[in-house]
């Protein structure tokens, strides 16, 4: 559906930042953990930040829950909620891009794959954003690029730290070169933040790939990842085809990224808020602790 129609329709069912997860699953439902194959009660999963109580498998979280899990309760105030993708190239293959967008909006209750806004973490003012993998694979088109860029600009204007929770399939090919250029645009905005001496912490969650990894996601002062998150530039299948042999165990996993010097640590979801707050305690301008 065209974005303006969607906005009209949305009036009646504004999405809310919900705690817990399992997206739309009601509490009473049973789920199977893909890692340990145990059957879990959705209510338990939701209460543990969607981490399997048996094997610590980290289930996917929707963007709103990502933010909720990091910020001081009730402190999030969304910005640019109405920025959403259109179909500049009239891209149509298998399914028209407009249909993919409409379906994503319908199922996620979001205008776009990124949610951004102001919040506080450990009572420090931040500009925070999160990507929602359900929305066209959290790929970066013009709208995601614009929202992320505006988030950096907001932070510069208001002297805030930036925190971004990133998951993404990469660039959004349905927007062609407009999408590719968002890599440069967001990287330029991140660079401006850095020049302004303001801190930026990124949290990489499963999966983060392609043009998003190769732009703003890894330009942070400190980078953390969730256990088991896969992060890379090229997808594992492409790499496998390229090298014509099978990939080593743990390839592109958060744990191997630490060994290869790419990130500062693998942090369980339950500890992420504390870790991010601790980093901000050092990097946010202001007096001694």
């Amino acid at each position: 559906m065209p974005i303006n129609d969607w906005f009209k329709q949305r009036e009646s069912r504004r999405y809310t930042v919900t705690s817990g997860s399992g997206a739309d699953l009601p509490d009473g439902v049973w789920r199977t953990c893909p890692e340990c194959r145990k059957t879990l009660y959705q209510g338990d999963v939701a209460r543990s930040l969607s981490v399997c109580p048996h094997c610590a498998h980290h289930f996917e979280l929707i963007a709103a829950d990502r933010i909720e899990a990091l910020v001081d309760p009730g402190s999030f105030e969304e910005t640019n909620a109405s920025v959403g993708s259109v179909d500049p190239l009239r891209f149509s293959a298998v399914k028209p891009y407009t249909e993919s967008l409409a379906a994503a909006r319908e199922s996620c209750g979001l205008a776009e794959a990124a949610i951004t806004g102001r919040a506080r973490i450990g009572d420090r003012a931040v500009a925070i954003g999160a990507l929602d993998f359900r929305f066209v694979g959290a790929s970066m088109g013009s709208a995601v690029g614009e929202k992320v860029t505006r988030l950096f600009e907001l932070a510069i204007a208001e002297r805030r730290a930036v925190v971004l929770v990133v998951a993404s399939g990469g660039a959004r090919m349905q927007e062609g070169m407009l999408s590719l250029m968002q890599m440069a645009k967001t990287a330029a905005a991140a660079e401006r933040l850095a020049r302004a001496g303001l801190p930026y912490v990124s949290v990489l969650v499963n999966p983060t790939y392609g043009g998003v990894t190769a732009s703003f996601a890894v330009l942070a002062d400190m980078i953390f990842a969730e256990p088991g998150a896969l992060v890379g530039f090229a997808g594992p299948r492409l790499v496998e085809q390229t090298i014509r042999r099978s990939l080593p165990k743990g390839f592109q996993s958060a744990e191997s990224l630490v060994d290869h010097g790419m990130i500062d640590g693998v942090v369980p979801r339950a500890e992420m808020r504390g870790r991010v707050a601790a980093v901000l305690g050092y990097l946010v301008p202001g007096g001694d602790v």
Partner: protein, 321 residues
């Protein structure tokens, strides 16, 4: 190297071959042949024009990959003097898929950065067919920093299928290397002129592929994803690359329309490889006038404009919700 025939040229090439055969016969002894040759020549000319006059996006992609197409090496050799190559990232290796040098264009000293495909198989193996490893991007970044330190404008040449998707490239931080180039280029306080001469494959092209001017050759492409991979994702069928190429808006004209490219350098009928010299000269002239204009700006304005150019790219809606 054997003559390289692109798929879509085949009908023309067959006619051209037939014409050559006829011409090789003894025309004097076969008077009816002269007329036939004349007919065929007209036919070849007609076909050449219809075939090349309006290339499809996918045909342009093929032209952009033609092995005889002028490469970074050719532009450097023809346009620049006093070339001093910079090698190495000072940490891991010297990636020959990326060329970096101090060089002089007319009376102007610049830093040149370009993807570097080879002409021979041996060259291509050394240069990984123009697909950079992380250390190639890190070398490029070193060249950018040198340009900054000594206030030299930067000229880049884009010609890569993309950053190499190898196992060790991932392990050595391909994404990190590209992202750092993007950040560095975005506020490099010297003029940056980019020329798309052949392939402009995704992040590997973008890492040295934006600045204050983007000059595209008529048959160069620049794309978020290769048409083949796009077709694979959409249709599970690389043979449908032509459809993808059209959908992706990757030609020079598309980039003009989208406000990403600034100018297009025309190519001779059939592609730059059919007569490289005037194309190379034209590129040199375009770079020179771009540098001339940009050098007049003060650094603050230059960087504001560059950011503004990027900032303006993107088409989205802002609802009232």
């Amino acid at each position: 190297m054997a003559r390289f025939v692109m798929e879509f040229e085949r009908p023309l090439v067959e006619l051209e071959d037939k014409l050559d055969e006829l011409k090789a016969l003894d025309v004097a002894s076969l008077p009816e042949l002269a007329a036939e040759i004349e007919d065929l020549e007209r036919e070849v000319e007609r076909l050449r024009e219809t075939l090349y006059a309006a290339l499809s996006p996918w045909e342009r992609v093929q032209v952009s990959r033609h092995p005889a197409r002028p490469k970074t090496d050719d532009y450097v050799a023809e346009l620049f003097t006093d070339v001093v190559e910079l090698r190495g990232d000072r940490a891991y290796g010297d990636d020959e898929a990326v060329f970096t040098a101090l060089a002089t264009l007319g009376a102007r000293r610049v830093v040149v950065i370009g993807h570097r495909k080879g002409r021979t198989t041996k060259e291509n193996v050394r240069r990984n067919f123009g697909s950079p490893h992380p250390e190639g991007f890190r070398k490029a970044r070193r060249a950018m920093r040198l340009a900054e330190k000594f206030s030299l404008p930067v000229v880049t040449f884009l010609d890569t299928a993309g950053a190499y998707p190898g196992l060790e490239d991932e392990e050595r931080g391909q994404a990190w290397a590209i992202a750092e180039c993007l950040a560095t280029l975005s506020d490099l306080p010297v003029p940056v002129v980019v020329v798309g001469i052949g392939e402009g494959g995704s992040g590997g092209a973008l890492a040295i592929g934006f600045g204050d001017r983007l000059i595209m050759l008529e048959n160069a492409y620049y794309s978020v994803i290769s048409p083949e991979m796009c077709a694979m994702i959409l249709y599970k069928d690389t043979a449908r690359a032509a459809e993808s190429a059209s959908a992706l808006a990757l030609t020079a004209d598309d980039l003009m329309r989208l406000g990403i490219a600034d100018e297009v350098v025309p190519e001779p009928l059939g592609g730059a490889h059919r007569d490289p010299a005037p194309v190379i000269v034209a590129v040199g002239e375009r770079i020179t006038s771009a540098l001339e204009a940009l050098s007049a700006e003060d650094t603050g304005a230059l960087l504001e404009n560059r950011y503004g150019r990027l900032r303006a790219i993107g088409v989205f809606a802002e609802g009232d919700g």
